[in-house]
């Protein structure tokens, strides 16, 4: 059984939405210094100094018991802020799971960025202890690779995820960084392309190069997403980032320096670029699809999102069971739960990122037909957006980013790209 706040008797859709928290992309969170600096304290340092009981690089993920009969009665689920359906202070999709399986879930929206979150749980992981988290959501890339390489991700039992097998999108199955989905199952996904303010841009951009042209954007009005820029630029230079090496990285760095030194450049962002987009400090920027779509569809902002001519970057946020989880069987059941189309629909109608369950598109479309007025229009736009439901033609134009898997690669990557913005 599922619970849909929009369908509760006597409660109009508009009112229900009004009574719930304001939608906001989980990536639209300012990485506030106080919190980040706080984590610089003892935990990270002690993590670095303490003796490792799980040697790095062993790839020896501990075996876990996924027999449903052994599932505990509680799950701790750590995710990014505002990245799940929410109504009246609860999470309907999780409530439905609890009702179905009699397993309670504590949902913590504690992940603000991959690196600092991994740093936070590093002491427990390295000591071979339970992190007190049964599911964490980590973006594909260096930190996810670090979890897998060090044996800190629990290997999943592929025979116990029927909904995933039946309903997962092609892009969510067997991604190159985790063939066979041995350790991960996609939570949501999205594209990094170009978002722009249609009223401030001189004309609609079509290429990534347009970001550095005053024909398209006013002086000092263009933003860059530091973390995704290298991969996105490589894609637009015709380079496959997945197999790229130092020479290609240098090529991308040269392009980024050109953008940094161009008249249109405003700033490079970790996160929080949407605040500047809505404040009209930015006219155009590298952007995440869900952020722009949310403000365009639900806030009626004059924004648009494009996939540049040469392509966009695809990223996937992955559900992972950390090593030594107290309840791996329950965690896998919950992960598979989110691959039921009606449950995935509840999440997607809230977060507006790419669902790993394509059948959700039809369900949202049906939902739109049952509703009326502005809310129906918004649902219809959600169901129709190619950025949420990419067809094969679009998928052919996007690529996942470079998967950093060694310390040497990590050092070279950061030395090449981080220094561009630290001038």
């Amino acid at each position: 059984m599922t619970i849909d706040p929009q369908q509760q008797p006597g409660l109009s859709s508009a009112l229900a939405r009004g009574m719930t928290s304001r939608r906001m992309s989980r990536r639209n969170m300012i990485k506030l210094g106080g919190a980040s600096v706080g984590t610089l304290s003892l935990a990270s340092i002690l993590a670095a100094c303490s003796k490792s009981s799980t040697p790095g690089g062993s790839n020896a993920a501990p075996a876990a018991n996924f027999d449903p009969a052994t599932a505990g009665d509680h799950i701790n689920f750590s995710n990014w802020p505002l990245y799940i359906d929410k109504a009246h202070g609860t999470y309907p999709s999780l409530d439905a799971f609890t009702k179905q399986y009699d397993i309670s879930v504590t949902y913590n929206d504690e992940i603000n960025d991959n690196s600092s979150f991994i740093g936070e749980i590093l002491p427990q992981l390295r000591a071979g202890q339970d992190t007190k988290r049964d599911i964490i959501v980590i973006t594909n890339g260096e930190y996810l690779a670090g979890l897998i390489t060090n044996g800190w991700a629990t290997e999943l039992d592929a025979s116990r995820r029927p909904n995933f097998d039946a309903n997962a999108a092609s892009w969510a199955k067997s991604p190159f960084y985790d063939e066979g989905n041995r350790f991960t199952m996609a939570w949501q996904s999205g594209l990094t392309g170009v978002g722009y303010n249609t009223e401030l841009a001189h004309k609609p951009p079509t290429k990534l190069d347009d970001l550095m042209s005053t024909d398209y954007f006013p002086t000092g009005s263009v933003g860059v997403l530091q973390s995704d820029a290298p991969d996105l630029v490589m894609i637009n230079l015709g380079i496959d980032p997945k197999t790229s090496q130092q020479a290609e990285w240098d090529e991308a760095a040269t392009w980024l320096k050109k953008l940094r030194d161009s008249d249109t450049f405003y700033a490079a962002y970790d996160q929080g670029y949407v605040d500047d987009l809505t404040a009209k400090n930015l006219a155009g920027t590298m952007a995440w699809s869900g952020d722009v779509l949310y403000y365009k569809i639900w806030e009626n902002q004059p924004f648009d999102f494009i996939v540049p001519e040469n392509g966009a970057l695809l990223w996937i946020d992955n559900m992972v069971i950390p090593a030594h989880s107290a309840n791996p069987a329950g965690a896998l059941e919950l992960m598979d739960w989110f691959y039921k189309p009606d449950i995935a629909q509840m999440v997607t109608e809230w977060v507006l990122y790419m669902s790993p369950v394509p059948a959700v598109q039809g369900l949202i479309d049906e939902h739109a037909k049952k509703e009326s007025g502005k809310y129906a229009d918004q649902l219809a736009q959600t169901a129709e957006s190619p950025m949420l439901w990419p067809d094969q033609a679009l998928l052919d134009r996007v690529s996942l980013g470079r998967n950093i898997t060694t310390d040497d690669e990590s050092k070279a990557w950061h030395a090449t790209f981080d220094s561009i913005w630290q001038q």
Partner: protein, 320 residues
């Protein structure tokens, strides 16, 4: 008659034979010593756990190797790796210079703005002194981060300050301050000004007004009385204000990230350390950057103390 150590309570040598009447003094001295230890213990323990231990760990980490996420799982090994320091400094000395420069400019502006304010309140505030002084401290009641975020709205390209001026045609459309060094320095100045105002006010408030009157009686003009009497007597306040502003401002993270974040020429050393710790997980380099910052602040503060005349270098060292 010269005084002996036995005459001074607390300085009676152990084992010295005393007349029965004076044996109580030895017990009293012991109790006083015990009381001193008891008073120092909680704060001292707190400092040892909260400052000394982390400091030792940071120094050890800065001389370690390893730390990579993949090869060692983030573990470091103490190997007297002094090259971490040369790597950290040679690759990032420009950011140290920038941080010192930003903090220095902000400190000068802070003193320049806070001194006249503190002077007026101290000398002419009358019965409103306490109220006026409280007004300086009002910003402290709002979170440091929130205060800085608000400046985004003030300094925004089309924000509260520049939006109307652009609409009136007084500023060009592409004029901007946010994400520039000016925004970072302005933010640091705003956030640290109360730290400058506090010691300045205390120093000025303590000045004996009769000295100023005496200077005037001796035909000193108002400016001369200020230059010859008030300013020299307020030097300890200026010294404290500079230390309290400059040292934390150099390692500032919040203003650099929120007001400058990602803009050209705005990265300060705190942001770099955060990046090495939390993004790159290169703990040894991050720790080396931290130690370099700490030691350079210590050296600058002690040198400043020597030049400006505080006789106690420990005050400067403590502030650094």
């Amino acid at each position: 008659m010269s005084q002996t150590t036995a005459d001074v309570p607390g300085l009676i040598p152990e084992g010295m034979e005393l007349p029965p009447a004076r044996k109580g003094e030895r017990a009293l001295a012991r109790r006083r010593r015990l009381a001193a230890y008891l008073l120092l213990f909680p704060g001292g323990l707190y400092l040892v756990i909260g400052f000394v231990v982390p400091l030792i760990i940071i120094v050890i980490t800065s001389l370690s190797s390893g730390g990579g996420l993949f090869s060692t799982g983030g573990a470091t090994t103490f190997t007297w790796e002094f090259s971490n320091y040369s790597t950290a400094f040679s690759e990032h000395w420009q950011i140290y210079v920038r941080s010192v420069m930003f903090a220095g400019i902000a400190t000068v502006i802070c003193i320049g703005l806070a001194y006249p304010m503190a002077y007026w309140i101290a000398f002419y505030g009358g019965k409103w002194k306490a109220t006026l002084f409280m007004l300086i401290l009002v910003p402290f009641f709002v979170s440091f981060v929130i205060r800085t975020v608000q400046w985004n709205f003030i300094l925004g390209t089309n924000g509260l300050l520049f939006g109307p001026l652009k609409n009136l045609g007084l500023l060009s459309e592409d004029f901007r301050v946010l994400k520039t060094p000016v925004a970072v320095i302005a933010g640091i100045t705003y956030n640290y000004m109360p730290f400058a105002a506090l010691p300045l006010y205390v120093a000025l408030e303590r000045i004996d007004r009769r000295l100023v009157e005496a200077a005037k009686d001796l035909y000193a003009s108002k400016p001369m009385a200020f230059r010859k009497v008030v300013l020299p007597l307020s030097v300890p306040g200026i010294f404290a204000a500079v230390i309290l502003t400059f040292v934390p401002a150099t390692g500032d993270y919040i203003n650099s990230v929120i007001l400058g974040g990602g803009g050209p020429g705005t990265t300060m050393i705190g942001v770099l350390i955060q990046s090495y710790f939390l993004v790159q997980h290169e703990y040894p380099i991050a720790a080396a950057l931290s130690v370099i910052l700490m030691v350079s602040m210590l050296v600058l503060a002690i040198a400043y103390a020597r030049v400006l005349g505080t006789e106690d270098d420990t005050i400067a060292a403590a502030a650094a």
